[in-house]
Protein backbone atom coordinates (compact mmCIF):
# COMPACT_ATOMS: atom_id res chain seq x y z
CA UNK A 1 0.00 0.00 0.00
CA UNK A 2 1.17 3.50 -0.65
CA UNK A 3 -0.41 6.95 -0.58
CA UNK A 4 -0.73 9.11 -3.62
CA UNK A 5 -2.22 12.52 -4.24
CA UNK A 6 -4.29 13.15 -7.34
CA UNK A 7 -5.37 16.49 -8.68
CA UNK A 8 -8.16 16.80 -11.22
CA UNK A 9 -8.70 20.10 -13.00
CA UNK A 10 -11.04 21.14 -15.77
CA UNK A 11 -14.36 22.73 -16.70
CA UNK A 12 -17.08 21.93 -14.22
CA UNK A 13 -19.92 19.60 -15.21
CA UNK A 14 -21.89 16.78 -13.59
CA UNK A 15 -20.09 13.44 -13.18
CA UNK A 16 -16.45 14.40 -12.57
CA UNK A 17 -16.26 13.04 -9.03
CA UNK A 18 -18.36 10.03 -9.95
CA UNK A 19 -16.05 9.16 -12.83
CA UNK A 20 -12.90 9.71 -10.77
CA UNK A 21 -14.19 7.64 -7.88
CA UNK A 22 -15.27 4.85 -10.23
CA UNK A 23 -11.78 4.57 -11.76
CA UNK A 24 -10.20 4.57 -8.28
CA UNK A 25 -12.62 1.87 -7.13
CA UNK A 26 -12.00 -0.26 -10.20
CA UNK A 27 -8.27 -0.07 -9.44
CA UNK A 28 -8.72 -1.10 -5.76
CA UNK A 29 -7.76 2.36 -4.46
CA UNK A 30 -9.18 3.72 -1.24
CA UNK A 31 -10.03 7.42 -0.93
CA UNK A 32 -8.72 8.90 2.34
CA UNK A 33 -9.35 12.62 1.83
CA UNK A 34 -11.05 14.72 -0.79
CA UNK A 35 -11.29 18.43 -1.19
CA UNK A 36 -12.95 19.99 -4.18
CA UNK A 37 -14.05 23.42 -5.15
CA UNK A 38 -15.50 25.27 -8.09
CA UNK A 39 -14.00 28.58 -9.04
CA UNK A 40 -16.15 30.44 -11.53
CA UNK A 41 -16.85 27.48 -13.92
CA UNK A 42 -13.69 25.54 -13.29
CA UNK A 43 -13.64 22.36 -11.22
CA UNK A 44 -10.65 21.49 -9.03
CA UNK A 45 -10.41 18.34 -6.94
CA UNK A 46 -7.64 16.93 -4.78
CA UNK A 47 -7.80 13.29 -3.66
CA UNK A 48 -5.45 11.51 -1.29
CA UNK A 49 -5.82 7.76 -1.84
CA UNK A 50 -4.08 4.55 -0.86
CA UNK A 51 -3.23 2.31 -3.79
CA UNK A 52 -2.32 -1.38 -3.94
CA UNK A 53 1.48 -1.90 -4.04
CA UNK A 54 1.37 -3.43 -7.51
CA UNK A 55 -0.33 -0.41 -9.09
CA UNK A 56 2.29 2.00 -10.47
CA UNK A 57 1.77 5.75 -10.29
CA UNK A 58 2.24 6.04 -14.04
CA UNK A 59 -0.43 3.40 -14.67
CA UNK A 60 -2.92 5.07 -12.39
CA UNK A 61 -2.20 8.43 -14.00
CA UNK A 62 -2.82 6.99 -17.44
CA UNK A 63 -6.07 5.25 -16.48
CA UNK A 64 -7.39 8.44 -14.89
CA UNK A 65 -6.29 10.52 -17.87
CA UNK A 66 -8.07 8.23 -20.30
CA UNK A 67 -11.15 7.86 -18.14
CA UNK A 68 -11.54 11.59 -17.55
CA UNK A 69 -10.64 12.76 -21.06
CA UNK A 70 -14.29 12.73 -22.22
CA UNK A 71 -14.96 15.18 -19.36
CA UNK A 72 -12.00 17.36 -20.47
CA UNK A 73 -10.25 17.03 -17.12
CA UNK A 74 -6.49 17.27 -16.56
CA UNK A 75 -5.01 14.81 -14.11
CA UNK A 76 -1.82 14.79 -12.10
CA UNK A 77 -0.75 12.00 -9.73
CA UNK A 78 2.21 11.94 -7.37
CA UNK A 79 3.33 9.96 -4.33
CA UNK A 80 2.68 11.44 -0.88
CA UNK A 81 5.86 11.77 1.10
CA UNK A 82 5.97 10.11 4.51
CA UNK A 83 8.60 12.63 5.67
CA UNK A 84 7.56 15.00 8.45
CA UNK A 85 5.87 18.21 7.26
CA UNK A 86 8.14 21.02 6.09
CA UNK A 87 6.14 23.56 8.06
CA UNK A 88 5.33 22.74 11.66
CA UNK A 89 2.04 24.30 12.74
CA UNK A 90 2.56 23.43 16.41
CA UNK A 91 1.74 26.38 18.64
CA UNK A 92 0.54 28.51 15.74
CA UNK A 93 -2.38 30.87 16.24
CA UNK A 94 -4.98 31.11 13.46
CA UNK A 95 -5.69 34.63 12.24
CA UNK A 96 -7.87 35.99 9.48
CA UNK A 97 -6.60 38.85 7.35
CA UNK A 98 -9.22 40.62 5.29
CA UNK A 99 -8.63 43.38 2.80
CA UNK A 100 -11.03 45.48 0.81
CA UNK A 101 -10.30 48.07 -1.78
CA UNK A 102 -9.74 48.89 -5.43
CA UNK A 103 -8.48 46.10 -7.65
CA UNK A 104 -5.06 46.29 -9.27
CA UNK A 105 -2.52 43.83 -10.56
CA UNK A 106 -0.25 42.27 -7.96
CA UNK A 107 -2.48 42.63 -4.88
CA UNK A 108 -2.17 39.00 -3.83
CA UNK A 109 1.55 38.95 -4.58
CA UNK A 110 2.25 42.04 -2.54
CA UNK A 111 0.18 40.99 0.46
CA UNK A 112 1.45 37.42 0.51
CA UNK A 113 5.01 38.71 0.20
CA UNK A 114 4.62 40.31 3.64
CA UNK A 115 2.89 37.23 5.04
CA UNK A 116 5.63 34.92 3.76
CA UNK A 117 8.44 37.19 4.97
CA UNK A 118 7.15 36.74 8.53
CA UNK A 119 7.10 32.95 8.21
CA UNK A 120 3.30 32.89 8.32
CA UNK A 121 1.48 30.13 6.45
CA UNK A 122 -1.66 30.76 4.42
CA UNK A 123 -4.14 27.94 5.10
CA UNK A 124 -7.00 29.28 3.04
CA UNK A 125 -7.34 32.12 0.61
CA UNK A 126 -10.51 33.43 -0.87
CA UNK A 127 -10.28 36.38 -3.20
CA UNK A 128 -13.19 37.92 -5.00
CA UNK A 129 -12.32 40.60 -7.54
CA UNK A 130 -15.38 41.85 -9.23
CA UNK A 131 -13.70 44.95 -10.56
CA UNK A 132 -15.97 47.87 -11.18
CA UNK A 133 -16.57 51.00 -9.23
CA UNK A 134 -17.35 49.55 -5.81
CA UNK A 135 -14.04 48.87 -4.05
CA UNK A 136 -15.95 47.19 -1.24
CA UNK A 137 -16.70 44.38 -3.68
CA UNK A 138 -13.01 43.52 -4.04
CA UNK A 139 -12.23 41.35 -1.09
CA UNK A 140 -9.37 39.11 -0.11
CA UNK A 141 -9.67 36.81 2.86
CA UNK A 142 -6.51 35.07 4.05
CA UNK A 143 -6.72 32.49 6.79
CA UNK A 144 -3.22 32.16 8.16
CA UNK A 145 -1.31 30.33 10.88
CA UNK A 146 1.01 32.63 12.78
CA UNK A 147 3.81 30.64 14.40
CA UNK A 148 4.83 31.50 17.97
CA UNK A 149 8.21 32.85 16.89
CA UNK A 150 6.63 35.48 14.63
CA UNK A 151 6.50 38.96 16.12
CA UNK A 152 2.77 39.54 15.76
CA UNK A 153 3.02 43.26 16.29
CA UNK A 154 5.63 43.68 13.59
CA UNK A 155 3.57 41.52 11.22
CA UNK A 156 0.53 43.70 11.87
CA UNK A 157 2.52 46.89 11.30
CA UNK A 158 4.02 45.63 8.07
CA UNK A 159 0.65 44.44 6.78
CA UNK A 160 -1.02 47.73 7.63
CA UNK A 161 1.78 49.62 5.94
CA UNK A 162 1.47 47.48 2.82
CA UNK A 163 -2.32 47.89 2.80
CA UNK A 164 -1.87 51.64 3.02
CA UNK A 165 0.44 51.58 0.00
CA UNK A 166 -2.16 49.60 -1.93
CA UNK A 167 -5.09 51.74 -0.83
CA UNK A 168 -6.76 48.83 0.95
CA UNK A 169 -8.53 48.69 4.28
CA UNK A 170 -7.24 45.75 6.25
CA UNK A 171 -8.42 43.80 9.29
CA UNK A 172 -6.31 41.32 11.16
CA UNK A 173 -8.30 39.30 13.66
CA UNK A 174 -7.89 36.07 15.54
CA UNK A 175 -10.02 33.41 13.89
CA UNK A 176 -11.85 32.65 17.13
CA UNK A 177 -13.88 35.85 16.91
CA UNK A 178 -15.59 34.63 13.72
CA UNK A 179 -16.33 31.21 15.17
CA UNK A 180 -17.60 32.71 18.41
CA UNK A 181 -19.96 35.12 16.73
CA UNK A 182 -21.33 32.85 14.04
CA UNK A 183 -21.46 29.37 15.49
CA UNK A 184 -23.48 27.92 18.31
Amino acid sequence: MRRVIISVLGPDRPGIIAATARILFDNACNIENVSQTILQNEFSGIFIVTTPAELGIGDLNERLRQGLAPLRQHVFVKAVSDAPPVFDTGGSEPFVITTRGPDQKGLVARITEVIARHGVNVTNLQAVFRGGEAPGDNIMIYEVDVPPETDAEELQQDLRERARELGLTISIQHRRIFETINRV
Partner: protein, 457 residues
Amino acid sequence: MLNQQEILSTLEMVQHENLDVRTVTLGLSLLDCGSDDLGRFCDNIRQRIGSLARDLVKVCDQVGQKYGIPVVNKRIAVSPIAVAAAGFDRSQMVTVAETLDGIAREVGVDFIGGFSALVQKGIARGDRALIEAVPEALARTARVCASVNVASTRAGINMDAVLLMGRVIKRAAELTADRDGLACAKLCVFANIPQDIPFMAGAYLGVGEPDAVINVGVSGPGVVKKAIDRALAGGASLDLGRISEIIKRTAYKVTRVGELIGREVAERLDIGFGVVDLSLAPTPHVGDSVGEIFQSLGLLSIGVPGTTAALAMLNDAVKKGGAFASSHVGGLSGAFIPVSEDLNIGQAAGDGHLCIEKLEAITSVCSVGLDMVALPGDTSEETLAAIMADEMAIGVINRKTTATRLIPVPGKKAGERAFFGGLLGESPIMAVNNAGGQNRFVRLGGLIPAPIQSLVN
Protein backbone atom coordinates in the same frame (compact mmCIF):
# COMPACT_ATOMS: atom_id res chain seq x y z
CA MET B 1 -12.68 26.81 7.14
CA LEU B 2 -14.75 29.91 7.64
CA ASN B 3 -17.22 30.90 5.01
CA GLN B 4 -17.18 34.28 3.35
CA GLN B 5 -20.50 35.28 4.83
CA GLU B 6 -19.32 34.64 8.38
CA ILE B 7 -16.29 36.81 7.85
CA LEU B 8 -17.96 39.62 5.98
CA SER B 9 -20.93 39.95 8.31
CA THR B 10 -18.60 40.11 11.30
CA LEU B 11 -16.48 42.79 9.64
CA GLU B 12 -19.58 44.75 8.79
CA MET B 13 -20.64 44.78 12.43
CA VAL B 14 -17.29 46.11 13.60
CA GLN B 15 -16.52 48.55 10.79
CA HIS B 16 -19.89 50.04 10.02
CA GLU B 17 -22.30 49.21 12.83
CA ASN B 18 -20.32 50.27 15.90
CA LEU B 19 -19.97 46.82 17.44
CA ASP B 20 -17.55 47.17 20.28
CA VAL B 21 -16.99 46.09 23.83
CA ARG B 22 -18.28 49.15 25.60
CA THR B 23 -16.52 48.47 28.85
CA VAL B 24 -14.34 45.98 30.63
CA THR B 25 -14.86 46.70 34.29
CA LEU B 26 -12.56 45.35 36.95
CA GLY B 27 -14.44 44.78 40.19
CA LEU B 28 -12.25 45.06 43.27
CA SER B 29 -13.18 44.44 46.86
CA LEU B 30 -11.92 47.03 49.32
CA LEU B 31 -13.52 45.40 52.33
CA ASP B 32 -10.20 44.32 53.82
CA CYS B 33 -8.58 47.73 53.36
CA GLY B 34 -10.30 49.03 56.49
CA SER B 35 -8.53 51.26 58.99
CA ASP B 36 -9.63 53.86 61.49
CA ASP B 37 -6.88 56.08 60.15
CA LEU B 38 -7.89 57.93 56.99
CA GLY B 39 -4.35 58.14 55.65
CA ARG B 40 -3.77 54.46 56.09
CA PHE B 41 -7.15 53.58 54.58
CA CYS B 42 -6.37 55.67 51.50
CA ASP B 43 -2.92 54.08 51.24
CA ASN B 44 -4.49 50.65 51.46
CA ILE B 45 -6.99 51.27 48.69
CA ARG B 46 -4.34 52.96 46.55
CA GLN B 47 -2.15 49.90 46.89
CA ARG B 48 -4.97 47.42 46.32
CA ILE B 49 -6.32 49.09 43.21
CA GLY B 50 -2.89 50.03 41.89
CA SER B 51 -1.54 46.50 42.10
CA LEU B 52 -4.51 44.78 40.48
CA ALA B 53 -5.48 47.41 37.92
CA ARG B 54 -2.01 48.37 36.74
CA ASP B 55 -2.20 46.29 33.56
CA LEU B 56 -5.95 46.56 32.94
CA VAL B 57 -5.80 49.13 30.15
CA LYS B 58 -2.81 47.53 28.42
CA VAL B 59 -4.31 44.03 28.48
CA CYS B 60 -7.71 45.24 27.25
CA ASP B 61 -6.03 46.99 24.33
CA GLN B 62 -3.99 43.90 23.47
CA VAL B 63 -7.01 41.60 23.53
CA GLY B 64 -9.08 44.16 21.62
CA GLN B 65 -6.41 44.28 18.93
CA LYS B 66 -6.11 40.50 18.74
CA TYR B 67 -9.78 40.13 17.88
CA GLY B 68 -10.20 43.41 16.03
CA ILE B 69 -12.93 44.50 18.45
CA PRO B 70 -12.16 47.72 20.31
CA VAL B 71 -12.58 47.79 24.07
CA VAL B 72 -13.77 51.37 24.28
CA ASN B 73 -13.67 51.94 28.03
CA LYS B 74 -11.76 50.36 30.87
CA ARG B 75 -13.24 50.93 34.28
CA ILE B 76 -13.05 49.93 37.89
CA ALA B 77 -15.87 49.17 40.31
CA VAL B 78 -15.11 48.90 44.02
CA SER B 79 -16.97 47.76 47.12
CA PRO B 80 -19.55 50.26 48.35
CA ILE B 81 -17.46 52.95 50.00
CA ALA B 82 -20.21 53.51 52.59
CA VAL B 83 -19.34 50.02 53.88
CA ALA B 84 -15.58 49.96 53.23
CA ALA B 85 -15.10 53.39 54.79
CA ALA B 86 -17.97 53.20 57.27
CA GLY B 87 -16.08 54.82 60.13
CA PHE B 88 -15.35 58.09 58.39
CA ASP B 89 -17.31 61.32 58.37
CA ARG B 90 -18.56 63.43 55.50
CA SER B 91 -15.37 65.36 54.80
CA GLN B 92 -13.24 62.25 55.15
CA MET B 93 -15.49 60.55 52.60
CA VAL B 94 -14.67 63.38 50.18
CA THR B 95 -10.97 62.63 50.69
CA VAL B 96 -11.66 58.97 49.89
CA ALA B 97 -13.38 60.05 46.66
CA GLU B 98 -10.40 62.20 45.73
CA THR B 99 -8.10 59.27 46.42
CA LEU B 100 -10.18 57.05 44.12
CA ASP B 101 -10.09 59.75 41.45
CA GLY B 102 -6.29 59.95 41.68
CA ILE B 103 -5.89 56.18 41.36
CA ALA B 104 -8.25 56.07 38.41
CA ARG B 105 -6.14 58.69 36.66
CA GLU B 106 -2.92 56.81 37.45
CA VAL B 107 -4.10 53.49 36.03
CA GLY B 108 -5.74 55.18 33.06
CA VAL B 109 -9.41 54.25 33.54
CA ASP B 110 -12.05 56.82 32.64
CA PHE B 111 -14.43 56.04 35.50
CA ILE B 112 -14.29 54.37 38.90
CA GLY B 113 -17.62 53.37 40.43
CA GLY B 114 -18.53 52.37 43.94
CA PHE B 115 -18.88 55.63 45.79
CA SER B 116 -22.05 53.94 46.83
CA ALA B 117 -24.45 53.17 49.64
CA LEU B 118 -27.22 50.60 50.04
CA VAL B 119 -29.97 52.14 52.11
CA GLN B 120 -33.15 50.44 50.95
CA LYS B 121 -34.20 49.61 54.48
CA GLY B 122 -32.34 52.14 56.56
CA ILE B 123 -29.46 54.55 56.61
CA ALA B 124 -26.43 53.55 58.68
CA ARG B 125 -23.86 56.10 59.89
CA GLY B 126 -21.40 55.33 57.07
CA ASP B 127 -24.22 55.54 54.52
CA ARG B 128 -25.24 58.97 55.74
CA ALA B 129 -21.67 60.24 55.72
CA LEU B 130 -21.21 59.03 52.17
CA ILE B 131 -24.52 60.36 50.88
CA GLU B 132 -23.86 63.76 52.40
CA ALA B 133 -20.39 63.75 50.85
CA VAL B 134 -21.69 62.94 47.37
CA PRO B 135 -22.22 66.50 46.08
CA GLU B 136 -18.76 67.70 47.04
CA ALA B 137 -17.11 64.40 46.09
CA LEU B 138 -18.59 64.47 42.59
CA ALA B 139 -17.95 68.17 42.12
CA ARG B 140 -14.29 67.82 43.07
CA THR B 141 -13.52 64.68 41.08
CA ALA B 142 -13.73 63.82 37.40
CA ARG B 143 -13.81 60.04 37.33
CA VAL B 144 -15.68 58.96 40.45
CA CYS B 145 -19.23 57.65 40.04
CA ALA B 146 -21.74 57.36 42.85
CA SER B 147 -24.85 55.28 43.33
CA VAL B 148 -27.36 54.90 46.10
CA ASN B 149 -29.84 52.04 46.28
CA VAL B 150 -32.93 53.39 48.01
CA ALA B 151 -35.41 50.59 47.32
CA SER B 152 -35.78 46.90 46.69
CA THR B 153 -38.59 44.46 46.11
CA ARG B 154 -37.75 42.69 49.37
CA ALA B 155 -37.32 45.83 51.49
CA GLY B 156 -39.69 48.38 49.97
CA ILE B 157 -38.86 52.02 49.33
CA ASN B 158 -36.91 54.04 51.86
CA MET B 159 -38.66 57.37 51.41
CA ASP B 160 -36.35 59.13 53.88
CA ALA B 161 -33.48 58.17 51.59
CA VAL B 162 -35.42 59.24 48.51
CA LEU B 163 -36.02 62.69 49.96
CA LEU B 164 -32.41 62.92 51.08
CA MET B 165 -31.31 62.10 47.52
CA GLY B 166 -33.54 64.89 46.21
CA ARG B 167 -31.55 67.29 48.37
CA VAL B 168 -28.21 65.70 47.38
CA ILE B 169 -28.99 66.01 43.68
CA LYS B 170 -29.92 69.67 44.04
CA ARG B 171 -26.71 70.37 45.92
CA ALA B 172 -24.56 68.42 43.45
CA ALA B 173 -26.09 70.44 40.60
CA GLU B 174 -25.42 73.72 42.41
CA LEU B 175 -21.78 72.84 43.02
CA THR B 176 -21.29 72.21 39.31
CA ALA B 177 -23.59 74.96 38.05
CA ASP B 178 -20.87 76.17 35.67
CA ARG B 179 -20.98 72.77 33.94
CA ASP B 180 -24.77 72.42 33.72
CA GLY B 181 -24.90 70.29 36.87
CA LEU B 182 -22.42 67.71 35.58
CA ALA B 183 -21.95 66.10 39.01
CA CYS B 184 -25.51 64.71 38.76
CA ALA B 185 -24.56 62.83 35.59
CA LYS B 186 -22.27 60.71 37.76
CA LEU B 187 -24.93 59.83 40.32
CA CYS B 188 -27.52 57.05 40.01
CA VAL B 189 -30.35 56.35 42.41
CA PHE B 190 -31.49 52.74 42.23
CA ALA B 191 -34.15 50.24 43.08
CA ASN B 192 -32.92 46.63 43.03
CA ILE B 193 -29.36 47.52 42.07
CA PRO B 194 -27.48 44.49 40.68
CA GLN B 195 -24.14 43.72 42.30
CA ASP B 196 -22.26 43.22 39.06
CA ILE B 197 -23.12 46.09 36.69
CA PRO B 198 -20.13 46.95 34.53
CA PHE B 199 -21.75 50.12 33.14
CA MET B 200 -21.35 53.52 34.75
CA ALA B 201 -22.53 55.39 36.65
CA GLY B 202 -24.12 52.47 38.51
CA ALA B 203 -21.17 50.08 38.69
CA TYR B 204 -20.04 48.90 42.09
CA LEU B 205 -18.80 45.57 43.42
CA GLY B 206 -21.43 43.93 45.59
CA VAL B 207 -20.59 42.47 48.96
CA GLY B 208 -21.48 38.99 47.67
CA GLU B 209 -18.76 39.19 45.03
CA PRO B 210 -15.18 37.84 45.10
CA ASP B 211 -12.01 39.86 45.77
CA ALA B 212 -11.58 40.67 42.12
CA VAL B 213 -13.67 39.98 39.05
CA ILE B 214 -13.87 41.04 35.41
CA ASN B 215 -17.32 42.04 34.19
CA VAL B 216 -17.92 43.08 30.63
CA GLY B 217 -20.45 45.44 29.14
CA VAL B 218 -21.21 44.97 25.47
CA SER B 219 -23.39 47.26 23.50
CA GLY B 220 -24.42 47.40 19.89
CA PRO B 221 -27.65 49.33 19.23
CA GLY B 222 -26.26 50.07 15.76
CA VAL B 223 -25.85 46.36 15.04
CA VAL B 224 -29.44 45.65 16.05
CA LYS B 225 -30.81 48.53 14.02
CA LYS B 226 -28.89 47.49 10.91
CA ALA B 227 -29.98 43.87 11.29
CA ILE B 228 -33.62 45.00 11.37
CA ASP B 229 -33.09 47.37 8.43
CA ARG B 230 -31.40 44.67 6.36
CA ALA B 231 -34.15 42.17 7.06
CA LEU B 232 -36.88 44.65 6.17
CA ALA B 233 -35.03 45.78 3.03
CA GLY B 234 -34.71 42.14 1.99
CA GLY B 235 -38.32 42.33 0.87
CA ALA B 236 -39.56 39.39 2.89
CA SER B 237 -42.70 40.16 4.80
CA LEU B 238 -41.65 40.19 8.40
CA ASP B 239 -44.04 40.20 11.29
CA LEU B 240 -42.98 41.20 14.79
CA GLY B 241 -42.32 37.61 15.78
CA ARG B 242 -39.72 37.36 13.01
CA ILE B 243 -38.23 40.74 13.83
CA SER B 244 -37.94 39.71 17.47
CA GLU B 245 -36.09 36.61 16.31
CA ILE B 246 -33.65 38.78 14.34
CA ILE B 247 -33.01 40.98 17.39
CA LYS B 248 -32.48 37.86 19.50
CA ARG B 249 -29.94 36.39 17.09
CA THR B 250 -28.10 39.68 16.89
CA ALA B 251 -28.01 39.97 20.67
CA TYR B 252 -26.57 36.47 20.76
CA LYS B 253 -23.69 37.45 18.52
CA VAL B 254 -22.90 40.59 20.43
CA THR B 255 -22.95 38.78 23.75
CA ARG B 256 -20.59 36.11 22.46
CA VAL B 257 -18.08 38.81 21.55
CA GLY B 258 -18.24 40.22 25.06
CA GLU B 259 -17.73 36.89 26.73
CA LEU B 260 -14.79 35.97 24.49
CA ILE B 261 -13.00 39.24 25.18
CA GLY B 262 -13.90 39.32 28.87
CA ARG B 263 -12.68 35.81 29.50
CA GLU B 264 -9.39 36.44 27.77
CA VAL B 265 -8.78 39.69 29.65
CA ALA B 266 -9.62 37.89 32.90
CA GLU B 267 -7.28 35.04 32.08
CA ARG B 268 -4.39 37.33 31.23
CA LEU B 269 -4.89 39.30 34.45
CA ASP B 270 -5.31 36.06 36.40
CA ILE B 271 -8.65 37.25 37.72
CA GLY B 272 -11.95 35.37 37.61
CA PHE B 273 -14.52 36.20 34.97
CA GLY B 274 -17.90 37.39 36.19
CA VAL B 275 -20.66 38.31 33.77
CA VAL B 276 -21.45 39.79 30.40
CA ASP B 277 -23.93 42.62 30.56
CA LEU B 278 -25.51 42.94 27.15
CA SER B 279 -27.12 46.33 27.20
CA LEU B 280 -27.99 48.38 24.18
CA ALA B 281 -26.11 51.42 25.43
CA PRO B 282 -26.13 54.32 23.00
CA THR B 283 -23.49 56.97 22.50
CA PRO B 284 -24.13 60.44 21.12
CA HIS B 285 -23.19 59.37 17.60
CA VAL B 286 -25.35 58.66 14.56
CA GLY B 287 -25.67 54.92 14.07
CA ASP B 288 -25.10 54.11 17.73
CA SER B 289 -28.55 54.94 18.98
CA VAL B 290 -31.36 53.03 20.68
CA GLY B 291 -33.83 55.71 19.55
CA GLU B 292 -33.14 54.93 15.90
CA ILE B 293 -34.30 51.34 16.45
CA PHE B 294 -37.82 52.59 17.11
CA GLN B 295 -37.81 54.27 13.71
CA SER B 296 -36.56 51.08 12.08
CA LEU B 297 -39.50 49.35 13.75
CA GLY B 298 -41.85 51.78 12.02
CA LEU B 299 -42.55 54.37 14.70
CA LEU B 300 -42.23 58.07 13.93
CA SER B 301 -40.04 58.53 16.99
CA ILE B 302 -39.43 57.14 20.42
CA GLY B 303 -42.20 58.52 22.61
CA VAL B 304 -45.15 58.17 20.22
CA PRO B 305 -47.94 55.64 20.92
CA GLY B 306 -46.55 52.14 20.40
CA THR B 307 -43.22 52.96 22.01
CA THR B 308 -43.80 50.91 25.14
CA ALA B 309 -44.78 47.82 23.17
CA ALA B 310 -41.79 48.21 20.85
CA LEU B 311 -39.38 48.66 23.74
CA ALA B 312 -40.88 45.69 25.59
CA MET B 313 -40.24 43.50 22.57
CA LEU B 314 -36.74 44.88 22.05
CA ASN B 315 -35.72 44.51 25.69
CA ASP B 316 -37.07 40.98 25.94
CA ALA B 317 -35.45 39.83 22.69
CA VAL B 318 -32.11 41.25 23.80
CA LYS B 319 -32.34 39.36 27.09
CA LYS B 320 -33.27 36.11 25.38
CA GLY B 321 -30.40 36.34 22.91
CA GLY B 322 -27.97 37.18 25.69
CA ALA B 323 -29.17 34.37 27.93
CA PHE B 324 -28.71 31.83 25.14
CA ALA B 325 -25.25 33.14 24.27
CA SER B 326 -23.76 32.94 27.73
CA SER B 327 -24.51 31.22 31.00
CA HIS B 328 -23.04 34.22 32.79
CA VAL B 329 -25.20 37.13 31.84
CA GLY B 330 -25.75 39.72 34.53
CA GLY B 331 -25.77 43.42 35.28
CA LEU B 332 -28.62 45.26 33.64
CA SER B 333 -28.86 43.43 30.28
CA GLY B 334 -31.47 45.12 28.17
CA ALA B 335 -31.95 48.47 26.49
CA PHE B 336 -30.84 51.80 27.93
CA ILE B 337 -32.72 54.95 27.10
CA PRO B 338 -30.47 57.73 28.38
CA VAL B 339 -31.86 60.95 26.95
CA SER B 340 -28.71 63.03 26.59
CA GLU B 341 -26.45 60.15 25.61
CA ASP B 342 -28.57 59.17 22.61
CA LEU B 343 -28.76 61.71 19.79
CA ASN B 344 -32.07 60.38 18.57
CA ILE B 345 -33.75 60.27 21.99
CA GLY B 346 -32.51 63.79 22.74
CA GLN B 347 -33.99 64.88 19.43
CA ALA B 348 -37.32 63.22 20.29
CA ALA B 349 -37.39 65.14 23.57
CA GLY B 350 -36.61 68.37 21.72
CA ASP B 351 -39.29 67.76 19.11
CA GLY B 352 -41.91 67.12 21.76
CA HIS B 353 -42.42 63.44 20.83
CA LEU B 354 -41.02 62.28 24.15
CA CYS B 355 -42.23 63.78 27.40
CA ILE B 356 -41.13 62.80 30.87
CA GLU B 357 -44.41 61.01 31.60
CA LYS B 358 -44.01 58.74 28.56
CA LEU B 359 -40.36 58.24 29.42
CA GLU B 360 -41.40 57.04 32.87
CA ALA B 361 -43.95 54.70 31.33
CA ILE B 362 -41.41 53.04 29.07
CA THR B 363 -38.96 52.57 31.92
CA SER B 364 -41.33 49.87 33.15
CA VAL B 365 -40.11 47.74 30.26
CA CYS B 366 -36.54 48.97 29.71
CA SER B 367 -33.53 47.83 31.65
CA VAL B 368 -32.78 50.98 33.62
CA GLY B 369 -34.95 54.02 34.06
CA LEU B 370 -35.03 57.81 33.86
CA ASP B 371 -31.48 58.06 32.70
CA MET B 372 -29.60 61.27 31.93
CA VAL B 373 -32.73 63.39 32.06
CA ALA B 374 -32.02 67.12 32.18
CA LEU B 375 -34.67 69.00 34.15
CA PRO B 376 -35.28 72.71 34.77
CA GLY B 377 -32.92 74.14 37.36
CA ASP B 378 -35.76 75.29 39.56
CA THR B 379 -37.14 71.76 40.01
CA SER B 380 -37.50 71.43 43.78
CA GLU B 381 -35.90 68.71 45.86
CA GLU B 382 -39.39 67.50 46.71
CA THR B 383 -40.28 67.15 43.05
CA LEU B 384 -37.02 65.37 42.33
CA ALA B 385 -37.75 63.02 45.23
CA ALA B 386 -41.27 62.43 43.98
CA ILE B 387 -40.07 61.60 40.46
CA MET B 388 -37.54 59.21 41.97
CA ALA B 389 -40.16 57.62 44.21
CA ASP B 390 -42.35 56.96 41.17
CA GLU B 391 -39.45 55.36 39.35
CA MET B 392 -38.48 53.25 42.35
CA ALA B 393 -42.06 52.04 42.67
CA ILE B 394 -41.97 50.74 39.10
CA GLY B 395 -38.86 48.71 39.92
CA VAL B 396 -40.01 47.46 43.29
CA ILE B 397 -43.43 46.30 42.14
CA ASN B 398 -42.16 44.76 38.91
CA ARG B 399 -39.16 43.04 40.56
CA LYS B 400 -36.73 44.75 38.27
CA THR B 401 -33.95 47.26 38.42
CA THR B 402 -34.92 50.86 37.90
CA ALA B 403 -32.79 53.91 38.37
CA THR B 404 -32.71 57.63 37.87
CA ARG B 405 -29.99 59.97 36.75
CA LEU B 406 -31.71 63.33 37.00
CA ILE B 407 -29.91 66.59 36.35
CA PRO B 408 -31.67 69.79 37.44
CA VAL B 409 -29.64 72.15 35.29
CA PRO B 410 -28.93 75.31 37.30
CA GLY B 411 -30.25 78.50 35.76
CA LYS B 412 -31.86 76.82 32.78
CA LYS B 413 -35.49 76.27 31.85
CA ALA B 414 -37.45 73.66 29.95
CA GLY B 415 -36.62 73.78 26.24
CA GLU B 416 -33.12 75.16 26.73
CA ARG B 417 -30.19 72.82 26.14
CA ALA B 418 -27.79 71.27 28.61
CA PHE B 419 -24.28 70.23 27.61
CA PHE B 420 -22.39 67.55 29.52
CA GLY B 421 -19.66 66.72 27.04
CA GLY B 422 -18.17 63.48 25.74
CA LEU B 423 -20.21 60.32 26.10
CA LEU B 424 -22.63 62.09 28.44
CA GLY B 425 -23.81 64.13 25.48
CA GLU B 426 -26.28 66.99 25.43
CA SER B 427 -30.02 67.31 25.43
CA PRO B 428 -32.94 69.65 25.68
CA ILE B 429 -34.22 70.22 29.19
CA MET B 430 -37.47 68.36 29.67
CA ALA B 431 -40.45 70.01 31.27
CA VAL B 432 -41.74 68.67 34.58
CA ASN B 433 -45.50 69.04 34.45
CA ASN B 434 -47.88 69.51 37.39
CA ALA B 435 -45.08 70.01 39.88
CA GLY B 436 -46.42 73.18 41.48
CA GLY B 437 -47.45 73.36 45.10
CA GLN B 438 -46.29 71.43 48.10
CA ASN B 439 -45.62 67.74 47.89
CA ARG B 440 -46.47 66.59 51.38
CA PHE B 441 -46.44 62.96 50.30
CA VAL B 442 -42.67 62.71 49.95
CA ARG B 443 -42.17 64.58 53.23
CA LEU B 444 -44.17 61.97 55.17
CA GLY B 445 -41.02 59.84 55.09
CA GLY B 446 -40.66 56.33 56.45
CA LEU B 447 -40.61 53.12 54.49
CA ILE B 448 -43.10 52.13 51.83
CA PRO B 449 -43.46 48.45 52.73
CA ALA B 450 -42.23 45.67 50.50
CA PRO B 451 -44.91 44.55 48.06
CA ILE B 452 -46.93 41.36 48.29
CA GLN B 453 -45.51 38.56 46.14
CA SER B 454 -48.80 36.90 45.28
CA LEU B 455 -52.03 38.23 43.75
CA VAL B 456 -49.93 39.49 40.87
CA ASN B 457 -52.48 41.37 38.81
